[in-house]
């Protein structure tokens, strides 16, 4: 479960990113974060990941209070969070298999188990034939699938995606969203997006942000600004 209580976050020079934001996301819930650029979507994702800490208020993820700068359990928490970055963050000197397996190596799993899990997730994202390919040999859509596969691999039950379809064509966008739909029953998914079609079509929970404030919280909502 993800819980924000009266969270305020401002960046140096006083730029307010979030202003007194409160919400909670249940386990295995699918949520969209929408809002204009600078509304605070990425800040929320970074707060959940523990990359930022709030100026005031409380952020609790998986029963771990990560509001304090000195929180010692950030590493432990991050091992349960998969992140899909807007710029993919795929390592160019590693092949698809190695990129996906990164999170499993961290958990020090035996190689046999790593191979099994990577194979499973490659099938899930439709890249079972691309395991030995290097990033330069893949299209943007395939790279995003690799990023999603990496986020899904292992015991990562919270998936954060920041504009996962930002640079993709409509068909590839839908292919990507289908992957999220496949795993939504057992993952908590939070997606920050500008894509109106996706939000309107999928009828999931929508949190609307405006200038750092949470202005709407809709179950089965649509895209609103």
């Amino acid at each position: 479960m993800i819980q924000f209580e009266s969270v305020t976050k401002s960046y140096p020079l006083g730029v307010a990113a979030l202003d007194n934001v409160s919400f909670s996301i249940e386990r295995n819930e699918f949520t969209f974060l929408v809002g204009t650029s600078g509304a605070g979507k990425t800040t929320i994702l970074n707060l959940i990941l523990g990359d930022l800490y709030p100026n005031s208020g409380t952020v609790i993820v998986d029963d771990i209070d990560i509001s304090s700068k000195k929180c010692k359990r950030i590493e432990e928490l991050r091992r349960h969070i998969g992140v899909v970055f807007q710029d993919f963050k795929i390592l160019q000197d590693k092949d698809v298999f190695e990129n996906i397996a990164l999170g499993l190596y961290i958990q020090d799993l035996p190689l046999k188990k790593i191979k099994e899990q990577v194979r499973e997730v490659l099938v899930l994202v439709g890249l079972e034939e691309r395991g030995q390919y290097f990033p330069v040999q893949l299209s943007a859509g395939e790279l995003q699938r690799v990023a999603i596969a990496r986020a899904l691999c292992g015991d990562r039950h919270i998936i954060l995606a920041d504009e996962p379809t930002g640079n993709l064509d409509p068909k590839t966008t839908w292919d990507i969203m289908k992957i999220f739909k496949k795993v939504e029953s057992h993952k908590t998914i939070v997606i920050a997006t500008h894509n109106t079609d996706i939000v309107n079509s999928m009828k999931k929970r929508v949190l609307v942000l405006k200038k750092g404030k949470l202005v709407k919280d809709m179950q089965k909502g649509g895209y609103e600004l």
Partner: protein, 301 residues
């Protein structure tokens, strides 16, 4: 091991630079350690020789010589005193010149003086003992190795101080060079490191490949240095043997433990290798730790 070799292969120049810096530092350190050990061994050897010898005139009676011997032993400043009578000296002379009958014919026991060989507890007692011996009656001559011991003591002290200063400078320079090179390596992998941290990798996990490489290069460079040094020593061994022909053995003391420096022993050679390897791996690991520390902390803003 596969990842380690891949990492070295992908950044060959950085790895070569690390190896070269370590090689130079370790070679000079080994040379310093070896020379210092030898000097200390030599100092110990000189200190163990008769340090003050008094020769008596023919008029000196055996009783008066024994009286002086007793007084010296009571002073608490001498380790031992050895009396050598005229007859003892003649016997020794005969033994040393047994192959030269001409020399034996020319010398009788009367020609050789009786003497006392005194071993001081500390080199600093030598002048005091010599001053006392100069005042005893029927003294012919007093010889003591003050100058030799003092020169060796001051030489050892200078070499030790200079070595220490040079060693610290060498170590600091090496650590800075290794840190800079490792910084480059870390910078090349910055994206991967930040991604790993975001995925929950521990500091130890992220640091491990760098540390493994540092330890590997530390081990390899110390082994190469040691092999080269051993080769040079092996080459020079006959010359050293000739030079130190009169010296049966040299020791250095570590607390109550005595380590034989000369003739070269397996224990000493093994000890040197262990110290060198630990030192090489240690500075490489230390430099890597400092270099990676900055990048690995979770910087929450």
């Amino acid at each position: 091991m596969k990842n380690l070799l891949t990492s070295i292969r992908r950044t060959p120049y950085q790895s070569l630079a690390v190896f070269s810096s370590l090689f130079l530092t370790l070679f000079l350190s080994l040379l310093l350690i070896f020379c210092l050990n030898f000097l200390y061994g030599l100092l110990g050897y000189v200190e163990s020789r008769p340090q003050v010898t008094i020769y008596f005139q023919n008029e000196a009676s055996e009783a008066s010589i024994y009286k002086i011997k007793t007084e010296l032993e009571k002073s608490g400043k001498v380790e031992s005193v050895k009396y050598m009578s005229k007859n003892d000296a003649y016997s020794l002379y005969k033994q040393l010149n047994k192959d030269n009958p001409l020399l034996l014919e020319m010398v009788t026991p009367d020609v050789l003086p009786a003497s006392l060989e005194i071993f001081a507890k500390k080199p600093t007692y030598l002048p005091e003992i010599a001053n006392y011996l100069n005042t005893v009656p029927n003294k012919d001559e007093v010889n003591f190795q003050k100058n030799v011991v003092n020169k060796l003591l001051s030489l050892t002290s200078i070499v030790r101080t200079m070595s220490l200063a040079f060693f610290i400078f060498l170590m600091a320079t090496t650590i800075i060079i290794l840190m800079t090179i490792t910084h480059f390596k870390v910078a090349l992998k910055k994206d991967e490191l930040s991604l790993l941290r975001l995925m929950g990798a521990s500091v130890g996990y992220v640091r491990k490949p760098f540390m493994d490489e540092a330890l590997f290069l530390g081990f390899v460079s110390s082994t190469v240095v040691y092999s080269l040094f051993a080769g040079i020593l092996f080459f020079l061994y006959p010359s050293l043997q000739g030079y130190l022909s009169g010296v049966p053995s040299l020791f250095v003391e570590f607390g109550s433990y005595q380590l034989t420096v000369w003739p070269l022993s397996f224990m000493y050679a093994g000890g040197l290798y262990l110290v060198l390897t630990a030192f090489g791996m240690g500075i490489a690991a230390l430099a890597t730790h400092f270099a990676t520390d900055k990048y690995l902390a979770i910087q929450r803003s």
